[in-house]
C-alpha cells in the first residue's frame, strides 16, 4: 500500500470523525483502511425521513487517482438500499462522480454529501424502471458497469 494512500485516508478518516457532516457517520473502517462502512441518515422533510442506510466504500491502491467502489449495503443489519430512480436494488448507484466524473479532489465526505443530496431532491420513491433487468446482468462491482448519465437533477 502506498504512503499516499494511507496518509490521505488517515487524514480523511480523522476529519470525518472529529467533524462529521450532518447525517453522515463512519460506522467502521478496517485496519488497512481498504473498506469503510458509512451510515447515512436521511434528512428531515424528505421522502426518506427517518430512514437509515449503509454505504460501503472500497478503496483500491490507486485511490485517490482512481475512484473508490461505492454502493449501498443490503442485509438484516444494513437494511435495504433507498428506493430511488437512480439506485438499483442491488445497491449500485448511478452517479457520475463515482465513475467517469471522478476527480482526486473529491473526498469520502464529498461523495456522501452528494449521495445525501441526491436522496433529498427526490420527490417520489421509485425504483429505476430497468431495475430487474440490470440487477440480473450486473456484477458485484458497479465500476464495471458502463453508465450513461442522463439527468443529474432527479
Amino acid at each position: 500500500m502506498s504512503n499516499i494512500f494511507l496518509k490521505r485516508l488517515t487524514k480523511e478518516l480523522r476529519d470525518m470523525q472529529t467533524n462529521p457532516p450532518s447525517g453522515i457517520s463512519v460506522e467502521s473502517a478496517d485496519d488497512n483502511l481498504n473498506v469503510w462502512k458509512i451510515r447515512l441518515v436521511a434528512a428531515e422533510g424528505t421522502v426518506y425521513e427517518g430512514e437509515v442506510f449503509t454505504l460501503q466504500f472500497k478503496f483500491g491502491n490507486k485511490y485517490p487517482l482512481e475512484s473508490p467502489e461505492v454502493c449501498f449495503l443490503l442485509g438484516c443489519v444494513s437494511g435495504t438500499p433507498p428506493m430511488h430512480p437512480h439506485i438499483y436494488s442491488n445497491g449500485h448507484i448511478c452517479l457520475s462522480i463515482l465513475y467517469d466524473q471522478w476527480s482526486p479532489a473529491l473526498t469520502v465526505s464529498a461523495v456522501c454529501l452528494s449521495i445525501l443530496s441526491m436522496l433529498s431532491s427526490c420527490g417520489m420513491k421509485e425504483s429505476p424502471p430497468d431495475d430487474a433487468a440490470y440487477v440480473k446482468r450486473a456484477g458485484n462491482n458497479p465500476k464495471k458497469t458502463t453508465w450513461a448519465f442522463h439527468d443529474d437533477s432527479v
Binding site: S2, I4, K7, R8, K11, K62, P64, L65, E66, S67, P85, H86, C94, Y99, D100, Q101, W102, S103, P104, A105, P128, P129, D130, Y134, R137, A138, G139, K143, K144, T145, T146, W147, A148, F149, H150, D151, V154
Partner: protein, 511 residues
C-alpha cells in the same frame, strides 16, 4: 432516467482528448508515406533476388524506428508551428495518420501543455501544501511528487506510453513527452521512450515485431491482411529469423495460407490422436519384427537383420518410392468414399487426418535429425583433415546442403497441412505432383548425407551432394512458384469438411 449497459469489461477509459474524435475501425490507412520516410535510411535489405512467391519487406532496427518518428514529428511540428514533442504527442494520438491529424488540428488548434507554480496550493491527492505544482492545459493541478508517482506507475507497472492521461480520472488530456521528461526520473523516462518506439510499431499496420524471443528487429511489409488468402508473406528479420508477416508464426509456413495454418495448429493441439503419434524413433520391421531405430533424417530404411528396405512413413516397400510410382505423399480417398456408417466414416476421417499429420510431423522430426547429422559430419571432416594426410577439402557444401534440406523439409511439412484442407481437383493433383517430386529429391539428398564419407571418394561424394542440393533447391522453387501463382489466381479450393467429420463423429470420450 438512468440508463446503463452492463459489461464484463473494465469501463472503457479510452476517451480521447477533448476535441479529438478518432474512429478505430476505419482502417483505410495508406502508409506509403511512412515507407518513403524510411527510404533515405540505410536499411538492411533482403539480399535475395525477388521470386514470385516472396514479398517485398524491409528490416527495421529500433534506431530506424526512432529516427523515422523524429523526422515525422519534425515535419508535422514545422507545419503546425509547434514543438517536435508536441507534434509527436499529436501523431501518436492519431496513430501516425498525418492526414487525419492535420485535418483535425486545423479545426481545433490546441496550445502546448504547460507546467506552472501556484501559491497557496493544496495538492488534491496528498493534501500537502506549498509544494511545487504541475498541471497540463486542463489546469488539473497536482504536486510534482504525486504527478511523478502517477506517471511512473502508468509507465513501469502498466507499460503505458502514448495514451497516458491527466491524473484527474475524469480528464482525458494526454500527458506529453516533455512533461513526462520533466517529472519522472531518467530511468523511467528511458523506459517511457522505449515504450513510445514500441507503440509506433503497434500503431503502424505495415510494421511488425519479429516474434522470435528477445529479438529486437521489426519488419515493414505492405501485404494487407485482406490478401492473406492469396499470399503467404514470409519475411526474415535482421538476425535471420524467418517468420510469417501475416500471422506472426515464428517460422516460414509457405506454401500454406495463414488461416489454414491456424486451424491446423489448433487441431493438432486439440487432438488426442496427435499425442499418440509414432512412438518416437523406433518401429518394427514388417517382415522380421525386429526393432528398427531411426537416427538420420532419411526415410529409406533397411532392416539390419533381414535387409528388408522400406519407407519409414508409410511402412511400404522402398522399391516403389524411387520411381514414378512414388505415391507416398497422396492419401487414398477410397476408404472415405466407401464408408457407410458413422463408425466407418469416423475411421476414414481419422485415417485421412493421420496420413497428413504423420507426414507433417515426420518432416519436422527428420529436419532435426538431418541437421544433427550434417553438423556431425562437418565436425568429423574437419577433424579428419587435421589428423590425416587428407588434402584440404572445404566443408561449406555440407552446410549449404543442410540449409537446403532444412528449408525443403519445412516447406514439405507445410504442404501436408495445406493438402489436408484442399479439395480434390486438378489444381490439387498438380500440387501433389510437385510435392512428390520435392519429397523424392529431399529423401535422396538426405540419403546421400547418411552415406559413407570415405577419404578417397571425398571429391566424388562432394560433387554428388552439391548436384543433389541444386536439384532439391530447384524442386522447391518449382513448388513454391506454382503454388503462389495458383493461390494468387484463386485456383485452389479448400474445404474444412473432413476435419469437421472427424470432430462430429468422434466416439464418446474422444473429442
Amino acid at each position: 432516467m438512468s440508463d446503463y449497459e452492463a459489461s464484463e469489461n473494465e469501463t472503457e477509459n479510452e476517451s480521447m482528448a477533448a476535441s479529438y474524435h478518432y474512429d478505430d475501425d476505419e482502417d483505410d490507412l495508406n502508409d506509403d508515406e511512412l515507407m518513403d520516410e524510411f527510404d533515405d535510411a540505410p536499411v538492411t535489405r533482403d539480399a535475395d533476388v525477388r521470386r514470385s512467391y516472396t514479398v517485398a519487406f524491409e528490416v527495421r532496427t529500433s534506431e530506424d524506428l526512432a529516427r523515422v518518428q523524429q523526422t515525422e514529428a519534425d515535419d508535422v511540428g514545422a507545419v503546425l508551428g509547434v514543438s517536435t514533442e508536441a507534434a509527436a504527442t499529436l501523431l501518436r494520438f492519431f496513430r501516425w495518420r498525418k492526414d487525419r491529424l492535420l485535418e483535425d488540428y486545423y479545426g481545433n488548434p490546441d496550445s502546448d501543455a504547460l507546467l506552472k507554480r501556484a501559491e497557496d496550493f493544496e495538492c488534491p491527492v496528498c493534501f500537502d501544501v506549498d509544494c511545487p505544482v504541475a498541471q497540463l492545459k486542463c489546469a488539473h493541478a497536482f504536486c510534482t511528487a504525486c504527478y511523478a508517482r502517477y506517471l511512473s506507475g502508468r509507465i513501469t507497472e502498466e507499460g503505458e506510453s502514448r495514451r497516458i492521461q491527466c491524473p484527474d480520472a475524469s480528464c482525458s488530456v494526454i500527458v506529453d513527452e516533455k512533461t513526462v521528461e520533466t517529472l519522472v526520473d531518467p530511468k523511467v523516462f528511458e523506459k517511457y521512450k522505449a515504450l513510445l518506439i514500441k507503440s509506433y510499431v503497434d500503431d503502424v499496420p505495415s510494421l511488425k515485431w519479429c516474434p522470435h524471443p528477445n529479438c529486437e528487429y521489426a519488419v515493414q511489409c505492405k501485404v494487407p491482411a485482406s490478401s492473406l488468402d492469396e499470399i503467404v508473406p514470409s519475411v526474415k528479420c535482421g538476425d535471420g529469423h524467418s517468420f510469417c508477416f501475416g500471422c506472426s508464426l515464428p517460422q516460414d509456413h509457405q506454401p500454406c495460407v495463414c488461416s489454414l495454418v491456424k486451424l491446423w495448429l489448433k487441431k493438432c493441439a486439440d487432438d488426442s490422436e496427435t499425442a499418440n503419434w509414432i512412438s518416437a524413433n523406433t518401429k518394427e520391421c514388417e517382415k522380421c519384427q525386429s526393432t528398427i531405430e531411426k537416427n538420420g533424417g532419411c526415410n529409406h530404411m533397411t532392416c539390419r537383420k533381414c535387409k528388408y528396405e522400406f519407407c519409414w512413413v508409410c511402412m511400404g516397400p522402398w522399391s516403389d518410392h524411387g520411381t514414378q510410382w512414388y505415391n507416398c505423399n497422396r492419401f487414398d480417398e477410397k476408404a472415405s468414399i466407401d464408408a457407410r456408417d458413422n463408425q466407418a466414416k469416423y475411421r476414414a476421417a481419422l485415417e485421412r487426418y493421420l496420413h497428413y499429420f504423420n507426414r507433417y510431423a515426420n518432416h519436422e522430426q527428420s529436419a532435426k535429425l538431418d541437421k544433427e547429422l550434417s553438423e556431425k559430419i562437418s565436425a568429423k571432416m574437419l577433424e579428419m583433415q587435421k589428423t590425416t594426410e587428407m588434402s584440404w577439402i572445404e566443408v561449406q557444401f555440407l552446410s549449404t546442403a543442410k540449409e537446403i534440406l532444412l528449408a525443403s523439409r519445412n516447406t514439405l511439412k507445410w504442404t501436408y497441412c495445406f493438402a489436408y484442407y484442399l479439395t480434390r481437383d486438378n489444381t490439387t493433383e498438380l500440387f501433389e505432383n510437385n510435392q512428390r517430386d520435392l519429397e523424392m529429391a529431399v529423401e535422396q539428398l538426405s540419403e546421400l548425407l547418411e552415406g559413407q564419407f570415405e577419404v578417397e571418394k571425398m571429391g566424388e561424394v562432394k560433387q554428388k551432394i552439391l548436384d543433389k542440393s541444386v536439384y532439391v533447391s530447384g524442386r522447391r522453387e518449382v513448388l513454391l512458384t506454382a503454388t503462389a501463382a495458383d493461390l494468387a489466381d484463386g485456383r485452389f479450393t479448400w474445404s474444412l469438411e473432413s476435419s469437421q467429420t472427424l470432430a462430429l463423429l468422434a466416439p464418446a470420450g474422444k473429442k
